[in-house]
């Protein structure tokens, strides 16, 4: 008979060991990507996860040969603008529903919610034609506004339920303090739902940054392309040189991975605070 404490410690160690093994398998694709990026041309086609020695030549080559900075900038502009619009628009709308309780706002809310169930697949064709008619093909705005429209419903659900959970007396106190609706929104509602705002911001950032379908259709000129759609091009370009291709893939994947590692604490905190409910 083992002492319970010893038994617990052994169980903890076993669980940690199993988690590490599972994680090891889970990381294979990413490790593989990095590993190929670090290979010399001679090793590039080895069917091994790891090879030796490693070289950074591929990274040097692809960075100097390709306008990655420009592509990165395209992604950044589109993503930041979309996130800003989504957060602003959805929080205003959530405020109208949850706090102002405007007549008809619940009907509007339910209508907007159905957007969550609309697959992008059935939207790309009409959106493409709409954007063509607007002359917005190959423009930032042509992606930003549709992305925002598609992103608002989810953000709105989260922000609305957060605002509803906030004590109503706080909003009444703001009224007594003389706030008009806008001031209540700005000085009270937004700071109160900060964890949800952070969550929505990060999630929208990830989704927008990685969006592929619409970007593929709207951005046809190469100087407008975003990080998500360029890998196709490079897979043709570097067909015979996987080392260079995977170096580029690593560079493309890296910014968001680093960003997530930086903000994951706030992201999970927002989620734990009950962000995803409604």
């Amino acid at each position: 008979m083992m002492a319970p404490l010893v038994r617990n410690r052994i169980r903890g160690m076993v669980i940690h060991a199993v988690l590490f093994i599972v994680l090891g398998f889970w990381m294979v694709p990413q490790v593989y990507m990095l590993s190929i990026g670090l290979r010399t041309p001679a090793q590039a086609f080895d069917a091994q996860l790891f090879t030796w020695p490693v070289t950074f030549d591929n990274f040097v080559t692809v960075i100097s040969d390709n306008p990655l900075g420009l592509i990165f900038l395209n992604s950044l502009i589109i993503t930041v603008a979309t996130v800003a619009i989504v957060v602003a628009v959805s929080s205003l709308f959530a405020f109208a529903c949850a706090i102002l309780r405007l007549k008809g706002s619940i009907f509007l809310y339910t209508t907007l919610l159905t957007t969550l169930m609309v697959p992008l697949a059935s939207m790309v064709l009409p959106l493409a034609i709409l954007l063509k008619n607007f002359g917005w093909v190959n423009t930032y705005i042509g992606l930003i506004l549709p992305y925002a429209a598609l992103g608002v419903p989810f953000a709105m659900v989260i922000l609305k339920s957060f605002m509803e959970d906030a004590p109503r007396e706080l909003f009444e106190a703001a009224r007594v303090d003389g706030c008009n609706a806008w001031q209540t929104y700005w000085h009270v509602a937004l700071p109160l739902v900060r964890p949800a705002l952070v969550f929505v911001t990060i999630w929208q950032f990830i989704v927008t940054w990685n969006e592929f379908f619409l970007a593929l259709i709207v951005l046809t000129r190469s100087e407008m392309k975003t990080l998500t759609i360029v890998p196709m091009q490079y897979s043709g370009l570097y067909m015979a040189n996987p080392g260079a291709l995977f170096a580029i893939l690593t560079l493309i994947a890296l910014p968001l991975i680093l960003l997530y590692v930086l903000v994951q604490r706030a992201f999970v905190r927002g989620l734990l605070a009950g962000a995803v409910k409604g």
Partner: protein
């Protein structure tokens, strides 16, 4: 007299104030009308016309729909989407749930590390993921065939090059990419479980697996329901992985709604049947969502909190 005039002034002011409040709802409504509602209405209308948008169209009634429905590829797509949902959703829930359970309840110092690492595929660009997996699956130089050999699985060709296996190979990639999301939803659900209930269950003698199966799993029902809803929608959204890894092939064996619509509309330029397909997908999505909402309730929530 004086009091009376003040009343009307106050009332007039509050009336104009009330209408100005609708400005809060305006931007979201505008975005919705222009970029969601109008396109849907347009595509619904277009699905009854034949020809292309460029060269004029003629009313075709249900012709587009009959064309699409009689296309054998359509039924391949339906089968693929069904397989996709029926495999992806439960497997992700199971793996994600197990990871969440062990990470939340049995790790401390490394909790944040595990949470982050398992979530990384979600934040990795899908195009990167697709190309990496093409390499993994590759014949001769891919690591899949090399390492699976050792456990007795011999692959002569790439699994995505064989019509029989292509869709399953893609499903594996999809599961790998999105399990982290299921895990995080369950983590939030587990973290938000009311401690009193867990304590009560332990005092009642429920420990270990019995605690997990009889108390924790039922209490995570909200997270499970949300994942189901998001899973069905996500399945119908499927596009990049298939487009990038197989392009719907070989021989259209791994075609999904996204790639099918893309081909009809943008490669073949057949706007009418593209539109009809779009409408069919839309209807399927709405019907499935409504069924789920009717049966399970409408909520996106990892926690056991009761909404009013």
């Amino acid at each position: 007299m004086r009091a009376g005039s003040v009343t009307t002034a106050v009332e007039r002011r509050s009336a104009s104030r009330a209408s100005r409040l609708y400005l809060f709802a305006l931007p979201a409504t505008l975005l919705f009308v222009v970029f969601i509602a109008y396109p849907i209405v347009w595509v619904a209308g277009q699905s009854f016309y034949a020809g292309t948008a460029d060269r004029g169209t003629v009313f075709a009634g249900l012709a587009n729909y009959t064309t699409v429905l009689s296309d054998p590829t359509f039924w391949t797509v339906v089968r693929n989407m069904f397989l996709w949902g029926i495999i992806t959703i439960p497997v992700q829930m199971l793996i994600g749930g197990l990871l969440a359970y062990f990470i939340e309840r049995h790790t401390h110092a490394l909790r944040g590390f595990f949470r982050t690492m398992f979530f990384l595929p979600v934040v990795t660009s899908v195009s990167v993921i697709s190309l990496v997996w093409v390499q993994i699956y590759a014949p001769y130089y891919g690591i899949a065939q090399e390492y699976l050999k050792h456990i007795g699985i011999v692959m002569m060709t790439s699994p995505i090059g064989d019509p029989k296996t292509a869709i399953y190979a893609l499903i594996v990639v999809n599961i790998w990419q999105w399990t982290g999301f299921s895990m995080l939803m369950y983590i939030a659900g587990i973290a938000n479980l009311p401690n009193e209930v867990l304590d009560a269950a332990r005092i009642d003698g429920a420990r270990g697996w019995r605690l997990a199966v009889h108390v924790i799993v039922p209490m995570l029902a909200p997270a499970t329901k949300s994942l189901l809803l998001l899973g069905v929608i996500g399945t119908l959204q499927t596009f990049p992985i298939v487009h990038l890894m197989t392009g719907g092939g070989p021989n259209r064996a791994s075609e999904v709604f996204g790639t099918f619509i893309f081909k009809q509309s943008f490669v073949l330029g057949d706007t009418g049947s593209g539109a009809a397909l779009s409408v069919i997908v839309l209807v399927i999505a709405l019907v499935l969502s409504l069924i789920q909402i009717a049966v399970l309730g409408a909520r996106l929530s990892p926690a056991g909190k009761q909404d009013p």
